[in-house]
Symmetry: C2
Subunit: 137 residues, 2 copies
């Protein structure tokens, strides 16, 4: 029962759907703790690494930046503090996401109207080009 089962980087990669290079990169930038090494210098990950990496990937999927994740992880370690800060980060991120959606929707509408003007003629009279070059009459 004291036996720690060890994971290679490849196993960890498959288990979390992460690229091997990405895992090494998370280590390099201090997101994922550097694991012990085997005698052959292979990284030997533990279950703790697996759950931490899962956390990171899930947060990435939700669009958090690595910096935000670093902060979240830092807070998550101080189990007895209030989780206001976590809530604030998540809410702030949601605001960002909603802003991005609004911007993209505006852009989509504009693109749509530009495309709607194309009469499929020659380039010289293409309305798309005209729409893109407002100063060049």
């Amino acid at each position: 029962m004291g036996t720690k089962s060890i994971l290679t980087i490849g196993t960890l990669a498959k288990a979390t759907g992460t690229n091997i290079e990405t895992i090494r990169w998370y280590e390099k930038v201090g997101l994922l703790e550097a694991p012990d090494r085997t005698p052959g210098n292979y990284r030997a990950y533990t279950a703790a690494h697996l759950s931490r990496l899962s956390f990171i990937r899930r947060a990435r999927d939700l669009g958090f930046s690595l910096d935000q994740i670093r902060t979240l992880l830092g807070i998550a370690e101080q189990q007895d503090q209030s989780c206001e800060a976590i809530d604030a980060i998540a809410r702030g991120h949601l605001v960002d996401v909603n802003q991005k959606i609004a911007a993209l929707q505006a852009l989509g509408r504009e693109l749509d109207s530009v495309i709607g003007q194309c009469r499929h003629g020659r380039v010289a009279e293409c309305r798309i080009i005209e729409a893109l070059a407002p100063t060049a009459k």
Copy 2:
């Protein structure tokens, strides 16, 4: 009347709302033709540069990549060809934009539900952290 009025890079930058460094960078990557130089080695832009840069910036605002813009500019120069290709690029880009919107909306919904679970207690029982770390019960 044969006098060509010349624009410095700073004037061009202000006129198009572009960073000076960005203009030099567009030149470096072949999007904006390198202008003649003054005796003091300053870039001397013409009205043609202004309208081309306006085109680039407008297309960037609409979310086209520099590669797409390069293609658009290349087509725009061949005035007597059909504008099918331009239409195709614009339509393809619209598809991308709509996909991005859908992805962000899904993400926003998920974030929303994660945030909704926060009971503002201590980190140890924070539902946001739990939601992010699905394997670490």
